[in-house]
Structures are given as C-alpha cells and as structure tokens.
C-alpha cells in the first residue's frame, strides 16, 4: 500500500511542472499498475488539488484507462469501417474461440493501417494482412 502511494506520488511529482498534467499522470499510472483504481484516483486528486469526482470523471471517460487490472495478455483488433471492408468480421468468431479465457480481445476503432487490414495490435507492435490462420497464431503466441 505504502509502496503504491509513494509510486503515485512520484508520478504526480514528475509531471508537476507541466500544464494540465492529469492525462499524462493517468497514462503513467495505467502503464505502471495496469489500471487506475479508486485508491489511485484518491491519490491523484489529493496531489492535484482536485475532487475525486473530477478525477473519476476523467478516468471513466477514456477507453484507455481501466478501473481494475486484468493480468491477461491483450490483443486489440480493429473493427472500424476499413477493416470491415477487408473482412475483419469473419475473423471475430475464430479469434474469440482461440482466445478463450486466457487472452483478452479488445475492439479498437482504427490503427491507421487501413489499406492493409484486417489489423491487430499487441503491446506497441502492429500486425497487418491478418487471415484466420495468422490471427490464430498471433493470439496463441501472446
């Protein structure tokens, strides 16, 4: 407990000089803890002199911040129009079957690789021209 409080305090201190530091702080907390939970919201609110409601409002607004940590590996699959035009919807059922409970599949809207879809993202690595076999291997390997 004390440890995570100290870590959050040092993240807040790191962004102390910048204008409107809340999003960069939340990104760092999400990156370090895998979530921005209630405890983190309280600590950030305290550090930035905001109410917890204000911080919670921001955390819950953005798709990137999760309220609870999920230790499973994540595969993000783009299901926006351009990937739909290239057949991503036909891959979804197979991907869900491969992922099972072990891997979390997330839908994202656009990874900006719209001429070579269907596309997926794992960590900071992108994967294009997916077909059922390639997507299955990708999910199995994470």
């Amino acid at each position: 407990m004390v440890d995570s409080e100290e870590r959050i305090a040092s993240i807040c201190a790191r962004h102390g000089e910048s204008q409107g530091p809340l999003l960069p702080i939340l990104h760092d907390i999400q990156g370090e803890f895998g979530c921005v939970d209630e405890e983190a919201e309280r600590a950030v609110a305290q550090a930035l002199n905001l109410t917890r409601a204000e911080v919670h409002g921001v955390v819950s607004f953005y798709h990137d911040f999760k309220p609870v940590a999920d230790g499973r590996p994540v595969v993000q699959i783009c299901r926006a129009e351009a990937c739909q035009a290239r057949g991503v919807e036909a891959l979804v059922a197979g991907a869900e079957a491969t992922a099972g409970e072990r891997v979390r599949l997330e839908t994202v809207y656009c990874l900006g690789l719209c001429s070579v879809g269907p596309n997926a993202r794992v960590g900071d690595t992108m994967h294009s021209r997916l077909d059922p076999a390639r997507l299955r291997r990708l999910i199995e390997a994470v």
């Binding site: 921001v58 607004f61 953005y62 001429s115 070579v116 992108m126």
Partner: protein, 506 residues
Amino acid sequence: MTTVRISDDSLARACGADALAAAFESAGAQVERVSSWGMHWLEPLVEIAGIGFGPATVDDVPAILDGSSEKRIGVIAEHPFIVSQQRLTFARAGRTRALSLEDYGATGGWAGLTRAREIGPERVLEEVTQSGLRGRGGAGFPAGIKWQTAAKAMGDEKYIVCNADEGDSGTFADRMLIEGDPFALVEGMTIAGHAVGALQGYVYLRSEYPHAISKLRQAIALSADIVAPFRLEVRVGAGAYVCGEETSLLNSLEGKRGEVRAKPPLPALEGAFGKPTVVNNVLTLAAVPHILIDGGASLYGSLGVERSKGTMPIQLAGNIRHGGLYETAFGISLRELIHDIGGGTASGRPVKAVQVGGPLGAYIHPDQFDLPFDYEAYAAADGLIGHGGVVVFDDSADMGAMARFAFEFCAAESCGKCTPCRIGSVRGMEIIDSIRDGGREPDRLELAPQMHNASKSTRGKAEQVQLLEDLCEVMRDGSLCALGGFTPYPVESAMRHWPEDFGLDE
C-alpha cells in the same frame, strides 16, 4: 556493400519490414530505414539504387540481392502511382530518413521557417491567407483567417495546438507524415507560432499510434535548438474518438473529460487554458513550410479548383487493390481514384460503395463517381471529404449493417454532452433493427392506458423510415459537434442508394 532502403513506417513494419531488414543485414547488406513511399500494397518495399522490389518477404532476400527477383517493380520514382501525383506535403515520402536532420536540411527543410523569420509575422499571415490553405482536418476553414484571429487576440500567452487525433477509419496521412517527415510538422508549427506570437506548441497525438509518438518526441528533441524560443510537447490521447473535435481536444489537453465545448468563444480567442489558440490538423501545419518558401504561396494557390486550393493527401483504403497515399490537386474524380489509380477492389469483385471522409462521411454510389474531389462539391452532394479518407467496399458489403454501425460507433464514442448524439445514436440503432425486421409491435409501455399519444397498432416499415428521417434531422441540426451532426450522412446515404439492404425494395 549494397545499400538497401526499407521503410520504418508502422504500416511497413506491420507487414514485416523489421524481419526483412534483419534478413538483409545478415545477408551482408547495409540497411537504411527511410519513410514510406505510400504504395501500401507493395509494402514492405525494398529499394536498391532506386529500383524497387515488393511486397518482399524474408524468402525473397537472396533473389533481390542477386537481381533475379520477380518482385522487381522498376524505378520507384517513375512508378505510375508516384509520377501521377503532385506531392507537396509528402514530397519527402520514401526519399528521406525520418529523423535525419541532414536529410531534412538537404531537401529544403527549414527554408520556410528561415524566410518566415526574415519577412516577419504580418507577411507570413498574408501569404498563408493568400495561398488559400484550408484546414485539412475536415471542416476546411481557411487557415489564414484562423491565424489572423489568434494573432489579433489579446493574451499574455498563446498556443499552437496540432490536432493529430486521426481517429477516422480509412485515414493514415497524419500518421505517415509524423512517422516519415516529423520535422515538417515541427517547422510548420514553429512558423505558426512565429506568425501569431505563440511560444508553446502542443501536439495531441492518439495513443493508437505508439510509433508516431516516439518518432515525434525524438524529432522535437533533435530540433529544439532550431525552433527555439518556440517549444513543443507531445500529449497522448486516451482512446476517445471525439477528442479529434477541436474543443473536445482542448478539454482533454487541459486534463478534463473530452467533452465538446459550445462555440463561441472560438478557440482562436479562448482556446487551450483559456488563451488564444490556433488548432490545426497535422496536414494543414505540414503544408505551411512549402507555402512560406519564396513564391510558395502563389504556387499553392495555383493548384486545385475554385475555393479548394492546393493539394490534398488522399488516402485509398479498405477493399482496394492499390491502396496507399495519393496526394494530388483538388478536383480529381472518384472514378479515377478508385479504378485508374486504385485498380478496383482487392477482392476482384465489383465496387458497391465508397465511404469518403471517415465514419461520418456519406456512402457514395458508383453512379456518383464523377463527383470532383473538393469541399463544396461534396457538401452539395450531402457528403464531405473530411480528412481525405476513401474506403472502398465490394458487393459483399451489407449497407444496412454499415448504417447501423454508424449509429453504434456514434453511441460508443459520443462524449455525452448533447442529447441528440447521446440518445439519438442508440435510438437510431433500434430503428434500423426494426426496419430490417419489417416493422415492430408496440411494447408493453406503449400499450399502457396512460400512454395516450403512443400508437397501439403495429408500426410498419414506412412509419419507421419516417421516424429515422426525423431522428436524422434532429441529430443533424441539434448536435453540438460533427459526431452527432454528421452521423446521419452515412445512414441516410446508405438508405437512399441501397434500400434493398434495409428490406425496402418491394
């Protein structure tokens, strides 16, 4: 030693460029990582002494090195896809290393900034206005007017904010520019700062572009001395599509929920942190260095048609054989773009529909393919060119499902501030479902005796279509921003051109 040039654009990397580069290195070649030419169907594209090979795989390495590869496409710079373009914003694409100050300087980099500093802010504002440059984010507002407003505004501090929250499906030009030619954006923003009197710039870049974030941060660090006293910082978005709307972006930048603000006040007068702020798209700012070189403004203004001046980096995406980045003067038709340049669909089936301008753009029917690519022509045809994304669908597409998806997307991404968007999007999904089901029976609540005004009889398809049209009108006229306001475009165009996909053909 043979020098092999391979792109390190994230699209090329997603297609296997890193493994390919490693394979060339182990085969004894020297590998140089450059920006992408934008011919995406050929990625990863390998360049040796100007000759291209693509799409290359690790297995092709020996044959490419001994010159016997069947993937040879000839001289890249003479490829029909490249020579038919007019590249200004993407003049360096494929030709330079993204983070090389040496390459940037050798290809005319910083010339615009140097001249802007010589001629002073007043003349910079004049030249940008004279060039006819309009905002490339979608709304097409004249950049010069926006800059002048911010320049005249009173304020102890002013900001330049670059909107790099490129969330539209089918668009990738901002990403390609930042990953391939980041100094052009840095230079453009510095010129804007010089013109309006701002010393701080922010680039709001979406978190879905991790590679672009890292490239731009490096470029900012490398060029800090050149742009000083102007300072730049990258701010990373957090997965909200609506933050591409400028007022929502400003709230997000300030660390708030990305909710849309009512205008006025205009951001040029009261923007980031309540100060005068220029918010421009990546492509708008990156076009500025070319406009500021000697004679650049009149050259830019001489390209294009009527009120759509200069060039537009068009992004060919979706089910298209030759997808990629195609920068050309305004006025080109969709027929040329999709059939002559794009080579039709990737699947080889007939083209059914084309969505221009991202998720909020209209679906265009092949009968309308002669429409010239310009802001006013698309507006007149109940569409928009938006950020220049063109997504092709073949005849397997279900346009009823695409119309439903437009509402679904709006519901997922609505900021929730205004009612037409927040609630209309959900109701829109339900109405489309009921049309496709052939109408609907009154529900329990509607049958309750207290509900005097609710119809007690079956609602037919025609009645539901009328309801959908009314809903679209409310969303279009009553929403605060383009998310709710433009969602009717894809819905109504799909229903108008493909009624059979809604079960409305009998």
